[in-house]
Symmetry: C2
Protein backbone atom coordinates (compact mmCIF):
# COMPACT_ATOMS: atom_id res chain seq x y z
CA UNK A 1 0.00 0.00 0.00
CA UNK A 2 1.38 3.43 -0.89
CA UNK A 3 2.35 5.73 1.98
CA UNK A 4 2.35 9.48 2.38
CA UNK A 5 6.03 9.43 1.34
CA UNK A 6 5.13 7.80 -1.96
CA UNK A 7 2.51 10.48 -2.56
CA UNK A 8 5.06 13.21 -1.82
CA UNK A 9 7.57 11.67 -4.24
CA UNK A 10 4.92 11.23 -6.94
CA UNK A 11 3.72 14.83 -6.49
CA UNK A 12 7.22 16.23 -6.33
CA UNK A 13 6.44 17.88 -2.99
CA UNK A 14 7.64 17.65 0.61
CA UNK A 15 5.93 15.18 2.96
CA UNK A 16 4.94 18.12 5.18
CA UNK A 17 3.09 19.75 2.29
CA UNK A 18 1.17 16.56 1.56
CA UNK A 19 0.33 16.25 5.24
CA UNK A 20 -0.96 19.84 5.30
CA UNK A 21 -3.21 19.06 2.32
CA UNK A 22 -4.53 15.87 3.93
CA UNK A 23 -5.27 17.64 7.20
CA UNK A 24 -6.41 20.84 5.50
CA UNK A 25 -4.11 22.84 7.74
CA UNK A 26 -1.96 25.89 7.19
CA UNK A 27 -1.31 27.59 3.84
CA UNK A 28 -1.59 25.38 0.78
CA UNK A 29 -1.43 26.71 -2.78
CA UNK A 30 -4.06 25.55 -5.26
CA UNK A 31 -1.38 24.00 -7.44
CA UNK A 32 0.03 21.96 -4.53
CA UNK A 33 -3.46 20.81 -3.64
CA UNK A 34 -4.04 19.73 -7.23
CA UNK A 35 -0.69 17.90 -7.45
CA UNK A 36 -1.38 15.98 -4.24
CA UNK A 37 -4.87 15.06 -5.35
CA UNK A 38 -3.59 13.76 -8.71
CA UNK A 39 -0.73 11.84 -7.09
CA UNK A 40 -3.18 10.23 -4.65
CA UNK A 41 -5.38 9.15 -7.53
CA UNK A 42 -2.52 7.76 -9.59
CA UNK A 43 -1.22 5.73 -6.63
CA UNK A 44 -4.70 4.88 -5.31
CA UNK A 45 -3.51 6.26 -1.98
CA UNK A 46 -6.02 6.19 0.85
CA UNK A 47 -4.98 7.79 4.10
CA UNK A 48 -4.89 5.52 7.12
CA UNK A 49 -7.39 6.99 9.56
CA UNK A 50 -5.68 5.41 12.53
CA UNK A 51 -2.30 6.90 11.72
CA UNK A 52 -3.90 10.30 11.16
CA UNK A 53 -5.85 10.03 14.42
CA UNK A 54 -2.69 9.21 16.32
CA UNK A 55 -1.07 12.33 14.96
CA UNK A 56 -4.10 14.51 15.65
CA UNK A 57 -4.42 12.96 19.15
CA UNK A 58 -8.15 12.55 18.62
CA UNK A 59 -10.37 10.39 16.44
CA UNK A 60 -13.49 11.22 14.47
CA UNK A 61 -15.48 9.04 16.82
CA UNK A 62 -18.00 9.94 19.50
CA UNK A 63 -18.78 7.58 22.36
CA UNK A 64 -22.53 7.21 22.86
CA UNK A 65 -23.39 5.60 26.20
CA UNK A 66 -27.03 4.59 26.74
CA UNK A 67 -28.79 2.56 29.46
CA UNK A 68 -30.89 0.60 26.89
CA UNK A 69 -30.82 0.03 23.16
CA UNK A 70 -34.20 -1.62 22.54
CA UNK A 71 -36.39 0.88 24.44
CA UNK A 72 -38.09 2.93 21.69
CA UNK A 73 -36.93 6.24 23.19
CA UNK A 74 -33.28 5.18 23.10
CA UNK A 75 -33.39 3.42 19.72
CA UNK A 76 -34.93 6.60 18.27
CA UNK A 77 -32.33 8.80 19.98
CA UNK A 78 -29.47 6.53 18.82
CA UNK A 79 -30.83 6.64 15.30
CA UNK A 80 -30.78 10.45 15.24
CA UNK A 81 -27.36 10.64 16.95
CA UNK A 82 -25.93 8.29 14.31
CA UNK A 83 -27.43 10.40 11.53
CA UNK A 84 -26.26 13.72 12.99
CA UNK A 85 -22.76 12.41 13.70
CA UNK A 86 -22.14 11.81 9.98
CA UNK A 87 -23.16 15.40 9.22
CA UNK A 88 -20.28 16.45 11.50
CA UNK A 89 -17.80 13.98 9.95
CA UNK A 90 -18.02 11.75 13.01
CA UNK A 91 -19.02 8.16 13.62
CA UNK A 92 -20.22 6.59 16.85
CA UNK A 93 -19.18 3.89 19.25
CA UNK A 94 -22.41 2.53 20.69
CA UNK A 95 -22.05 1.45 24.32
CA UNK A 96 -24.85 0.02 26.46
CA UNK A 97 -24.27 0.62 30.17
CA UNK A 98 -27.57 -1.03 31.16
CA UNK A 99 -27.80 1.80 33.69
CA UNK A 100 -24.99 0.24 35.76
CA UNK A 101 -22.61 2.88 37.16
CA UNK A 102 -19.57 0.57 37.00
CA UNK A 103 -20.24 -0.02 33.32
CA UNK A 104 -20.53 3.72 32.70
CA UNK A 105 -17.18 4.14 34.38
CA UNK A 106 -15.65 1.32 32.30
CA UNK A 107 -17.01 2.85 29.08
CA UNK A 108 -15.80 6.37 29.93
CA UNK A 109 -12.35 4.84 30.40
CA UNK A 110 -12.70 2.95 27.09
CA UNK A 111 -13.61 6.24 25.40
CA UNK A 112 -10.58 7.93 26.92
CA UNK A 113 -8.17 5.17 25.85
CA UNK A 114 -9.57 5.36 22.34
CA UNK A 115 -9.29 9.14 22.30
CA UNK A 116 -12.83 9.86 21.18
CA UNK A 117 -13.59 13.44 20.20
CA UNK A 118 -16.53 13.58 22.60
CA UNK A 119 -18.94 11.58 24.73
CA UNK A 120 -22.73 11.66 24.79
CA UNK A 121 -23.88 10.13 28.04
CA UNK A 122 -27.58 9.34 28.26
CA UNK A 123 -29.25 9.10 31.69
CA UNK A 124 -25.83 8.68 33.30
CA UNK A 125 -25.52 7.89 37.01
CA UNK A 126 -21.77 8.31 37.37
CA UNK A 127 -20.11 10.96 39.51
CA UNK A 128 -17.64 12.71 37.20
CA UNK A 129 -15.48 14.03 40.00
CA UNK A 130 -13.87 10.59 40.17
CA UNK A 131 -13.16 10.23 36.47
CA UNK A 132 -10.17 11.66 34.66
CA UNK A 133 -11.22 12.33 31.09
CA UNK A 134 -8.75 15.09 30.33
CA UNK A 135 -9.92 17.26 27.49
CA UNK A 136 -12.76 15.07 26.25
CA UNK A 137 -16.07 16.97 26.32
CA UNK A 138 -19.14 15.21 27.69
CA UNK A 139 -22.72 16.07 26.81
CA UNK A 140 -25.26 14.67 29.28
CA UNK A 141 -28.74 13.86 28.07
CA UNK A 142 -31.53 13.85 30.66
CA UNK A 143 -29.12 14.13 33.62
CA UNK A 144 -28.04 17.37 35.20
CA UNK A 145 -24.47 17.23 36.50
CA UNK A 146 -22.57 19.40 38.92
CA UNK A 147 -19.53 21.38 37.85
CA UNK A 148 -20.75 22.90 34.62
CA UNK A 149 -21.00 19.68 32.61
CA UNK A 150 -23.33 20.35 29.70
CA UNK A 151 -26.81 18.87 29.90
CA UNK A 152 -29.64 18.62 27.39
CA UNK A 153 -33.10 17.62 28.46
CA UNK A 154 -36.66 18.11 27.30
CA UNK A 155 -39.03 20.33 29.26
CA UNK A 156 -40.34 17.53 31.44
CA UNK A 157 -42.40 19.82 33.66
CA UNK A 158 -44.13 21.35 30.65
CA UNK A 159 -44.89 17.80 29.44
CA UNK A 160 -46.58 16.85 32.70
CA UNK A 161 -48.58 20.07 32.65
CA UNK A 162 -49.70 19.62 29.02
CA UNK A 163 -50.79 16.05 29.80
CA UNK A 164 -52.92 17.04 32.79
CA UNK A 165 -54.41 20.08 31.02
CA UNK A 166 -55.38 17.97 28.00
CA UNK A 167 -57.11 15.35 30.18
CA UNK A 168 -58.98 18.05 32.10
CA UNK A 169 -60.01 19.75 28.85
CA UNK A 170 -61.36 16.40 27.64
CA UNK A 171 -63.64 16.31 30.69
CA UNK A 172 -61.66 14.07 33.08
CA UNK A 173 -62.24 14.83 36.76
CA UNK A 174 -60.35 12.02 38.57
CA UNK A 175 -56.79 11.91 37.33
CA UNK A 176 -54.03 9.43 38.01
CA UNK A 177 -50.34 9.66 37.19
CA UNK A 178 -48.39 6.40 36.96
CA UNK A 179 -44.76 7.31 37.45
CA UNK A 180 -42.22 4.57 36.66
CA UNK A 181 -39.40 6.97 37.53
CA UNK A 182 -38.48 6.64 41.19
CA UNK A 183 -35.08 8.35 41.33
CA UNK A 184 -35.40 11.91 42.58
CA UNK A 185 -32.35 13.55 41.10
CA UNK A 186 -33.24 13.32 37.42
CA UNK A 187 -35.02 15.79 35.14
CA UNK A 188 -37.80 13.32 34.22
CA UNK A 189 -39.12 13.56 37.77
CA UNK A 190 -40.44 16.99 36.75
CA UNK A 191 -43.13 15.25 34.67
CA UNK A 192 -44.86 14.54 37.95
CA UNK A 193 -44.30 18.10 39.17
CA UNK A 194 -45.95 19.59 36.07
CA UNK A 195 -48.86 17.17 36.33
CA UNK A 196 -49.47 17.98 40.00
CA UNK A 197 -49.25 21.75 39.39
CA UNK A 198 -51.83 21.63 36.59
CA UNK A 199 -54.24 19.51 38.64
CA UNK A 200 -53.94 21.84 41.63
CA UNK A 201 -54.40 24.99 39.54
CA UNK A 202 -57.59 23.52 38.07
CA UNK A 203 -58.80 22.16 41.42
CA UNK A 204 -59.09 18.64 40.00
CA UNK A 205 -58.77 15.49 42.14
CA UNK A 206 -55.59 13.55 41.39
CA UNK A 207 -53.41 10.75 42.64
CA UNK A 208 -49.74 9.93 41.91
CA UNK A 209 -48.63 6.30 41.93
CA UNK A 210 -44.88 5.77 41.98
CA UNK A 211 -43.77 2.31 41.03
CA UNK A 212 -40.37 1.05 40.02
CA UNK A 213 -41.11 -1.50 37.32
CA UNK A 214 -37.85 -3.34 36.81
CA UNK A 215 -36.79 -4.07 33.27
CA UNK A 216 -38.35 -1.95 30.58
CA UNK A 217 -40.12 -4.98 29.09
CA UNK A 218 -42.50 -4.66 32.05
CA UNK A 219 -43.41 -8.33 32.00
CA UNK A 220 -44.78 -8.07 35.53
CA UNK A 221 -46.63 -4.78 35.02
CA UNK A 222 -49.85 -6.60 34.03
CA UNK A 223 -51.05 -7.42 37.55
CA UNK A 224 -50.02 -4.01 38.83
CA UNK A 225 -52.02 -2.18 36.14
CA UNK A 226 -55.11 -4.33 36.72
CA UNK A 227 -54.91 -3.77 40.49
CA UNK A 228 -54.77 0.01 39.93
CA UNK A 229 -57.87 -0.07 37.74
CA UNK A 230 -59.68 -2.10 40.43
CA UNK A 231 -58.51 0.06 43.33
CA UNK A 232 -59.43 3.40 41.75
CA UNK A 233 -62.55 2.70 39.63
CA UNK A 234 -63.51 6.40 39.65
CA UNK A 235 -60.40 7.26 37.56
CA UNK A 236 -61.28 8.72 34.15
CA UNK A 237 -57.88 9.96 32.95
CA UNK A 238 -54.37 8.51 33.35
CA UNK A 239 -50.99 10.01 32.45
CA UNK A 240 -48.10 7.52 32.35
CA UNK A 241 -44.44 8.54 32.51
CA UNK A 242 -43.64 6.78 29.21
CA UNK A 243 -45.34 5.20 26.19
CA UNK A 244 -44.57 1.59 27.08
CA UNK A 245 -46.29 1.98 30.45
CA UNK A 246 -49.26 3.38 28.52
CA UNK A 247 -49.23 0.31 26.22
CA UNK A 248 -49.31 -1.99 29.26
CA UNK A 249 -52.20 0.07 30.69
CA UNK A 250 -54.12 -0.28 27.40
CA UNK A 251 -53.69 -4.07 27.70
CA UNK A 252 -55.04 -3.98 31.27
CA UNK A 253 -58.11 -2.00 30.09
CA UNK A 254 -58.68 -4.61 27.37
CA UNK A 255 -58.66 -7.36 30.00
CA UNK A 256 -61.04 -5.41 32.28
CA UNK A 257 -63.32 -4.45 29.37
CA UNK A 258 -62.75 -0.76 29.98
CA UNK A 259 -63.39 1.21 26.78
CA UNK A 260 -60.72 3.74 25.71
CA UNK A 261 -61.29 6.69 25.40
CA UNK A 262 -65.02 6.55 26.38
CA UNK A 263 -64.57 5.27 29.93
CA UNK A 264 -60.91 6.07 30.43
CA UNK A 265 -58.52 8.44 28.67
CA UNK A 266 -54.80 7.68 28.51
CA UNK A 267 -51.80 9.84 27.66
CA UNK A 268 -48.18 8.69 27.48
CA UNK A 269 -44.78 10.38 27.17
CA UNK A 270 -42.08 10.16 24.45
CA UNK A 271 -43.93 9.88 21.10
CA UNK A 272 -41.55 7.57 19.30
CA UNK A 273 -42.95 5.62 16.29
CA UNK A 274 -44.07 3.05 18.87
CA UNK A 275 -46.99 5.32 19.90
CA UNK A 276 -48.48 4.82 16.41
CA UNK A 277 -48.56 1.02 16.80
CA UNK A 278 -50.73 0.59 19.91
CA UNK A 279 -54.46 -0.14 19.63
CA UNK A 280 -55.93 2.41 19.87
CA UNK A 281 -53.02 4.65 18.73
CA UNK A 282 -51.64 6.59 21.68
CA UNK A 283 -52.07 10.25 22.60
CA UNK A 284 -48.74 11.30 24.08
CA UNK A 285 -46.28 14.07 24.88
CA UNK A 286 -43.86 14.51 22.01
CA UNK A 287 -40.20 14.69 22.97
CA UNK A 288 -38.03 16.58 20.44
CA UNK A 289 -35.64 13.64 20.07
CA UNK A 290 -34.22 14.78 16.74
CA UNK A 291 -33.54 18.26 18.14
CA UNK A 292 -31.85 16.73 21.20
CA UNK A 293 -29.50 14.81 18.87
CA UNK A 294 -28.82 17.87 16.70
CA UNK A 295 -28.09 19.97 19.76
CA UNK A 296 -25.72 17.38 21.25
CA UNK A 297 -23.63 17.11 18.07
CA UNK A 298 -23.63 20.88 17.61
CA UNK A 299 -22.40 21.41 21.16
CA UNK A 300 -19.52 18.97 20.62
CA UNK A 301 -18.59 20.76 17.39
CA UNK A 302 -18.77 24.14 19.13
CA UNK A 303 -16.54 22.86 21.91
CA UNK A 304 -13.86 21.84 19.40
CA UNK A 305 -14.15 25.20 17.67
CA UNK A 306 -13.54 26.94 20.99
CA UNK A 307 -17.03 28.36 21.09
CA UNK A 308 -18.75 28.57 24.43
CA UNK A 309 -21.39 25.95 25.03
CA UNK A 310 -24.36 26.35 27.35
CA UNK A 311 -24.34 24.33 30.58
CA UNK A 312 -28.01 23.51 30.38
CA UNK A 313 -30.36 23.30 27.41
CA UNK A 314 -34.06 22.54 27.92
CA UNK A 315 -36.05 21.87 24.76
CA UNK A 316 -39.84 22.33 24.58
CA UNK A 317 -42.23 19.40 24.23
CA UNK A 318 -45.67 19.30 22.59
CA UNK A 319 -48.92 17.34 22.69
CA UNK A 320 -49.67 14.71 20.01
CA UNK A 321 -53.35 13.77 20.06
CA UNK A 322 -54.27 10.33 18.73
CA UNK A 323 -57.11 8.04 19.82
CA UNK A 324 -56.68 7.28 23.54
CA UNK A 325 -58.12 10.69 24.52
CA UNK B 1 1.70 11.07 30.37
CA UNK B 2 4.15 8.18 30.77
CA UNK B 3 5.10 6.23 27.65
CA UNK B 4 6.10 2.62 27.08
CA UNK B 5 9.75 3.77 27.32
CA UNK B 6 9.14 5.11 30.83
CA UNK B 7 7.58 1.79 31.82
CA UNK B 8 10.59 -0.10 30.43
CA UNK B 9 13.01 2.15 32.34
CA UNK B 10 11.00 1.84 35.57
CA UNK B 11 10.80 -1.96 35.22
CA UNK B 12 14.47 -2.28 34.24
CA UNK B 13 13.50 -4.14 31.07
CA UNK B 14 13.78 -3.62 27.32
CA UNK B 15 10.95 -1.79 25.48
CA UNK B 16 10.43 -4.94 23.38
CA UNK B 17 9.77 -6.99 26.51
CA UNK B 18 7.20 -4.48 27.79
CA UNK B 19 5.56 -4.48 24.37
CA UNK B 20 5.38 -8.30 24.42
CA UNK B 21 3.69 -8.16 27.83
CA UNK B 22 1.19 -5.51 26.69
CA UNK B 23 0.33 -7.46 23.57
CA UNK B 24 0.54 -10.84 25.31
CA UNK B 25 2.76 -12.12 22.52
CA UNK B 26 5.79 -14.45 22.46
CA UNK B 27 7.61 -15.76 25.53
CA UNK B 28 7.34 -13.67 28.70
CA UNK B 29 8.65 -14.86 32.08
CA UNK B 30 6.39 -14.50 35.10
CA UNK B 31 8.90 -12.21 36.76
CA UNK B 32 9.01 -9.88 33.73
CA UNK B 33 5.23 -9.79 33.61
CA UNK B 34 5.15 -8.88 37.30
CA UNK B 35 7.80 -6.17 36.92
CA UNK B 36 5.91 -4.58 34.02
CA UNK B 37 2.63 -4.70 35.89
CA UNK B 38 4.16 -3.03 38.95
CA UNK B 39 5.93 -0.38 36.88
CA UNK B 40 2.67 0.39 35.06
CA UNK B 41 0.90 0.83 38.38
CA UNK B 42 3.62 3.04 39.88
CA UNK B 43 3.60 5.28 36.80
CA UNK B 44 -0.15 5.08 36.28
CA UNK B 45 0.63 4.09 32.70
CA UNK B 46 -2.34 3.42 30.45
CA UNK B 47 -1.62 2.14 26.97
CA UNK B 48 -2.83 4.28 24.09
CA UNK B 49 -5.25 2.08 22.19
CA UNK B 50 -4.76 4.00 18.98
CA UNK B 51 -0.99 3.62 18.99
CA UNK B 52 -1.36 -0.08 19.74
CA UNK B 53 -3.94 -0.49 16.99
CA UNK B 54 -1.66 1.17 14.49
CA UNK B 55 1.09 -1.27 15.36
CA UNK B 56 -1.24 -4.28 15.24
CA UNK B 57 -2.77 -3.00 11.96
CA UNK B 58 -6.24 -3.69 13.29
CA UNK B 59 -8.50 -2.23 15.95
CA UNK B 60 -10.74 -3.87 18.52
CA UNK B 61 -13.73 -2.44 16.71
CA UNK B 62 -16.37 -4.12 14.59
CA UNK B 63 -18.40 -2.19 12.04
CA UNK B 64 -22.11 -2.96 12.36
CA UNK B 65 -24.09 -1.78 9.33
CA UNK B 66 -27.88 -1.90 9.59
CA UNK B 67 -30.71 -0.58 7.37
CA UNK B 68 -32.70 0.73 10.38
CA UNK B 69 -32.01 1.42 14.03
CA UNK B 70 -35.52 2.02 15.39
CA UNK B 71 -37.23 -1.06 13.92
CA UNK B 72 -37.64 -3.43 16.90
CA UNK B 73 -35.90 -6.30 15.08
CA UNK B 74 -32.79 -4.21 14.44
CA UNK B 75 -32.70 -2.45 17.82
CA UNK B 76 -32.89 -5.90 19.47
CA UNK B 77 -30.19 -7.27 17.17
CA UNK B 78 -27.94 -4.23 17.77
CA UNK B 79 -28.44 -4.63 21.52
CA UNK B 80 -27.25 -8.25 21.42
CA UNK B 81 -24.38 -7.48 19.03
CA UNK B 82 -23.17 -4.74 21.38
CA UNK B 83 -23.36 -7.11 24.35
CA UNK B 84 -21.61 -9.97 22.58
CA UNK B 85 -18.89 -7.72 21.18
CA UNK B 86 -17.70 -6.85 24.70
CA UNK B 87 -17.41 -10.55 25.53
CA UNK B 88 -14.90 -10.77 22.67
CA UNK B 89 -13.00 -7.64 23.75
CA UNK B 90 -14.50 -5.67 20.87
CA UNK B 91 -16.62 -2.56 20.59
CA UNK B 92 -18.88 -1.49 17.75
CA UNK B 93 -19.22 1.32 15.28
CA UNK B 94 -22.93 1.61 14.60
CA UNK B 95 -23.66 2.64 11.01
CA UNK B 96 -27.15 3.13 9.55
CA UNK B 97 -27.22 2.58 5.78
CA UNK B 98 -30.99 3.14 5.57
CA UNK B 99 -30.88 0.28 3.04
CA UNK B 100 -29.15 2.55 0.49
CA UNK B 101 -26.46 0.69 -1.46
CA UNK B 102 -24.27 3.79 -1.87
CA UNK B 103 -24.32 4.28 1.89
CA UNK B 104 -23.34 0.64 2.45
CA UNK B 105 -20.45 1.17 0.08
CA UNK B 106 -19.42 4.38 1.88
CA UNK B 107 -19.57 2.62 5.26
CA UNK B 108 -17.57 -0.40 4.07
CA UNK B 109 -14.91 2.06 2.95
CA UNK B 110 -15.10 3.88 6.30
CA UNK B 111 -14.62 0.51 8.04
CA UNK B 112 -11.62 -0.26 5.86
CA UNK B 113 -9.97 3.11 6.47
CA UNK B 114 -10.47 2.63 10.21
CA UNK B 115 -9.08 -0.89 10.06
CA UNK B 116 -11.95 -2.58 11.87
CA UNK B 117 -11.38 -6.18 12.86
CA UNK B 118 -14.59 -7.26 11.15
CA UNK B 119 -17.87 -6.13 9.64
CA UNK B 120 -21.38 -7.32 10.37
CA UNK B 121 -23.60 -6.31 7.47
CA UNK B 122 -27.33 -6.66 8.06
CA UNK B 123 -29.66 -7.03 5.07
CA UNK B 124 -26.94 -5.69 2.79
CA UNK B 125 -27.66 -4.96 -0.87
CA UNK B 126 -24.12 -4.26 -2.02
CA UNK B 127 -22.24 -6.37 -4.54
CA UNK B 128 -18.95 -7.26 -2.86
CA UNK B 129 -17.13 -7.95 -6.09
CA UNK B 130 -16.66 -4.20 -6.47
CA UNK B 131 -15.33 -3.52 -3.00
CA UNK B 132 -11.75 -3.96 -1.92
CA UNK B 133 -11.77 -4.78 1.77
CA UNK B 134 -8.49 -6.67 1.90
CA UNK B 135 -8.36 -9.00 4.86
CA UNK B 136 -11.40 -7.70 6.73
CA UNK B 137 -13.94 -10.47 7.30
CA UNK B 138 -17.62 -9.75 6.66
CA UNK B 139 -20.51 -11.59 8.25
CA UNK B 140 -23.80 -11.10 6.42
CA UNK B 141 -27.03 -11.31 8.36
CA UNK B 142 -30.17 -12.21 6.41
CA UNK B 143 -28.48 -11.87 3.01
CA UNK B 144 -26.83 -14.71 1.16
CA UNK B 145 -23.85 -13.56 -0.88
CA UNK B 146 -21.91 -15.16 -3.72
CA UNK B 147 -18.28 -16.07 -3.36
CA UNK B 148 -18.27 -17.81 0.01
CA UNK B 149 -19.04 -14.74 2.11
CA UNK B 150 -20.41 -15.97 5.43
CA UNK B 151 -24.14 -15.58 6.01
CA UNK B 152 -26.33 -16.10 9.05
CA UNK B 153 -30.09 -16.21 8.77
CA UNK B 154 -33.01 -17.68 10.63
CA UNK B 155 -34.97 -20.56 9.14
CA UNK B 156 -37.48 -18.33 7.37
CA UNK B 157 -39.18 -21.19 5.54
CA UNK B 158 -39.72 -23.08 8.80
CA UNK B 159 -41.23 -19.87 10.26
CA UNK B 160 -43.76 -19.56 7.44
CA UNK B 161 -44.67 -23.23 7.80
CA UNK B 162 -45.09 -23.00 11.60
CA UNK B 163 -47.31 -19.92 11.19
CA UNK B 164 -49.65 -21.60 8.67
CA UNK B 165 -49.77 -24.88 10.60
CA UNK B 166 -50.66 -23.07 13.82
CA UNK B 167 -53.51 -21.11 12.15
CA UNK B 168 -54.87 -24.32 10.56
CA UNK B 169 -54.64 -26.15 13.88
CA UNK B 170 -56.65 -23.31 15.44
CA UNK B 171 -59.43 -23.98 12.95
CA UNK B 172 -58.73 -21.32 10.28
CA UNK B 173 -59.79 -22.32 6.75
CA UNK B 174 -59.23 -19.15 4.72
CA UNK B 175 -55.69 -17.97 5.18
CA UNK B 176 -53.98 -14.82 4.03
CA UNK B 177 -50.30 -13.92 4.05
CA UNK B 178 -49.39 -10.23 3.98
CA UNK B 179 -45.85 -10.04 2.72
CA UNK B 180 -44.09 -6.69 3.08
CA UNK B 181 -40.94 -8.18 1.55
CA UNK B 182 -40.97 -7.72 -2.19
CA UNK B 183 -37.34 -8.36 -3.12
CA UNK B 184 -36.85 -11.89 -4.38
CA UNK B 185 -33.22 -12.53 -3.64
CA UNK B 186 -33.33 -12.42 0.15
CA UNK B 187 -33.78 -15.23 2.69
CA UNK B 188 -36.90 -13.66 4.25
CA UNK B 189 -38.80 -14.40 1.04
CA UNK B 190 -38.82 -18.02 2.21
CA UNK B 191 -41.41 -17.08 4.87
CA UNK B 192 -43.92 -17.01 2.03
CA UNK B 193 -42.61 -20.29 0.60
CA UNK B 194 -43.06 -22.10 3.94
CA UNK B 195 -46.55 -20.65 4.36
CA UNK B 196 -47.63 -21.70 0.86
CA UNK B 197 -46.19 -25.24 1.29
CA UNK B 198 -48.05 -25.78 4.58
CA UNK B 199 -51.36 -24.53 3.14
CA UNK B 200 -51.02 -26.73 0.07
CA UNK B 201 -50.08 -29.83 2.11
CA UNK B 202 -53.18 -29.30 4.26
CA UNK B 203 -55.40 -28.48 1.29
CA UNK B 204 -56.41 -25.14 2.82
CA UNK B 205 -57.49 -22.12 0.77
CA UNK B 206 -54.93 -19.29 0.90
CA UNK B 207 -53.96 -16.01 -0.67
CA UNK B 208 -50.64 -14.14 -0.70
CA UNK B 209 -50.66 -10.34 -0.83
CA UNK B 210 -47.33 -8.76 -1.62
CA UNK B 211 -47.12 -5.11 -0.79
CA UNK B 212 -44.10 -2.88 -0.46
CA UNK B 213 -44.98 -0.55 2.39
CA UNK B 214 -42.38 2.17 2.27
CA UNK B 215 -40.88 3.29 5.53
CA UNK B 216 -41.15 0.89 8.43
CA UNK B 217 -43.36 3.31 10.33
CA UNK B 218 -46.10 2.20 7.94
CA UNK B 219 -48.02 5.45 8.31
CA UNK B 220 -49.97 4.72 5.14
CA UNK B 221 -50.60 1.05 5.88
CA UNK B 222 -53.94 1.85 7.55
CA UNK B 223 -56.04 2.18 4.39
CA UNK B 224 -54.33 -0.81 2.81
CA UNK B 225 -55.12 -3.07 5.80
CA UNK B 226 -58.74 -1.95 5.93
CA UNK B 227 -59.16 -2.53 2.19
CA UNK B 228 -57.82 -6.08 2.58
CA UNK B 229 -60.28 -6.84 5.38
CA UNK B 230 -63.12 -5.52 3.20
CA UNK B 231 -62.01 -7.32 0.04
CA UNK B 232 -61.56 -10.75 1.67
CA UNK B 233 -64.23 -10.93 4.40
CA UNK B 234 -64.04 -14.76 4.47
CA UNK B 235 -60.47 -14.59 5.85
CA UNK B 236 -60.16 -16.14 9.32
CA UNK B 237 -56.36 -16.30 9.75
CA UNK B 238 -53.60 -13.87 8.69
CA UNK B 239 -49.83 -14.30 8.81
CA UNK B 240 -47.83 -11.07 8.41
CA UNK B 241 -44.15 -10.99 7.47
CA UNK B 242 -43.25 -8.97 10.57
CA UNK B 243 -44.67 -7.86 13.92
CA UNK B 244 -45.19 -4.21 13.02
CA UNK B 245 -47.38 -5.19 10.05
CA UNK B 246 -49.35 -7.34 12.52
CA UNK B 247 -49.74 -4.33 14.85
CA UNK B 248 -51.11 -2.25 11.97
CA UNK B 249 -53.50 -5.10 11.11
CA UNK B 250 -54.72 -5.22 14.72
CA UNK B 251 -55.49 -1.49 14.47
CA UNK B 252 -57.47 -2.09 11.25
CA UNK B 253 -59.50 -4.84 12.97
CA UNK B 254 -60.23 -2.43 15.84
CA UNK B 255 -61.56 0.12 13.33
CA UNK B 256 -63.68 -2.51 11.54
CA UNK B 257 -64.95 -4.01 14.84
CA UNK B 258 -63.45 -7.39 14.00
CA UNK B 259 -62.81 -9.36 17.20
CA UNK B 260 -59.34 -10.96 17.63
CA UNK B 261 -58.95 -13.94 17.95
CA UNK B 262 -62.68 -14.92 17.76
CA UNK B 263 -63.37 -13.68 14.24
CA UNK B 264 -59.83 -13.39 12.96
CA UNK B 265 -56.54 -14.90 14.13
CA UNK B 266 -53.25 -13.07 13.54
CA UNK B 267 -49.65 -14.23 13.69
CA UNK B 268 -46.57 -12.07 13.14
CA UNK B 269 -42.85 -12.67 12.68
CA UNK B 270 -39.83 -11.57 14.82
CA UNK B 271 -40.94 -11.76 18.47
CA UNK B 272 -39.01 -8.80 19.80
CA UNK B 273 -40.26 -7.26 23.10
CA UNK B 274 -42.60 -5.21 20.90
CA UNK B 275 -44.88 -8.27 20.42
CA UNK B 276 -45.69 -8.11 24.15
CA UNK B 277 -46.95 -4.51 23.90
CA UNK B 278 -49.76 -4.83 21.33
CA UNK B 279 -53.39 -5.23 22.40
CA UNK B 280 -54.06 -8.11 22.39
CA UNK B 281 -50.45 -9.37 22.84
CA UNK B 282 -49.22 -10.90 19.60
CA UNK B 283 -48.74 -14.56 18.68
CA UNK B 284 -45.62 -14.62 16.51
CA UNK B 285 -42.67 -16.57 15.12
CA UNK B 286 -39.69 -16.18 17.41
CA UNK B 287 -36.40 -15.31 15.71
CA UNK B 288 -33.31 -16.39 17.67
CA UNK B 289 -31.86 -12.87 17.63
CA UNK B 290 -29.50 -13.45 20.56
CA UNK B 291 -28.14 -16.60 18.92
CA UNK B 292 -27.65 -14.75 15.63
CA UNK B 293 -25.54 -12.15 17.47
CA UNK B 294 -23.54 -14.80 19.36
CA UNK B 295 -22.89 -16.70 16.14
CA UNK B 296 -21.75 -13.57 14.27
CA UNK B 297 -19.22 -12.60 16.94
CA UNK B 298 -18.00 -16.19 17.28
CA UNK B 299 -17.44 -16.43 13.53
CA UNK B 300 -15.37 -13.24 13.54
CA UNK B 301 -13.29 -14.57 16.45
CA UNK B 302 -12.82 -17.91 14.66
CA UNK B 303 -11.71 -16.11 11.52
CA UNK B 304 -8.99 -14.26 13.44
CA UNK B 305 -7.90 -17.51 15.09
CA UNK B 306 -7.49 -19.09 11.65
CA UNK B 307 -10.37 -21.49 12.23
CA UNK B 308 -12.60 -22.28 9.31
CA UNK B 309 -15.98 -20.58 9.38
CA UNK B 310 -19.12 -21.92 7.73
CA UNK B 311 -20.38 -20.10 4.63
CA UNK B 312 -24.00 -20.38 5.63
CA UNK B 313 -25.64 -20.78 9.03
CA UNK B 314 -29.41 -21.15 9.33
CA UNK B 315 -30.81 -20.99 12.86
CA UNK B 316 -34.16 -22.55 13.82
CA UNK B 317 -37.20 -20.45 14.75
CA UNK B 318 -40.09 -21.31 17.06
CA UNK B 319 -43.72 -20.40 17.70
CA UNK B 320 -44.65 -18.02 20.56
CA UNK B 321 -48.36 -18.21 21.31
CA UNK B 322 -49.97 -15.15 22.92
CA UNK B 323 -53.50 -13.83 22.48
CA UNK B 324 -54.09 -13.08 18.80
CA UNK B 325 -54.67 -16.80 18.01
Amino acid sequence: MPTIKDVAREAGLAVGTVSRVLNNRGYISDSARKKVKEAMERLDYQPNEMARSLQKKTTSTIGVIVPHIEHPYFSTLISFLEKESHKHGQKIYLLNSMGITDKESEFLELCRRNQVSGIILCNGNIDFSETALGEIPIINIERKKEGGHACISCDNEMGGRLAAEHLIEQGCRNLLHINGITENEIPAIDREKGFVCACESAGISYRVIKKQLYGYQLKNADDFMISLLEKYPETDGIFTSDDILAAKLIQACYRKNIRIPDQLKIIGFDDTPFAMWTTPPLTTIHQPIQKIAEQALQMLADYHNNRQIPANVVLPVSLTVRETT
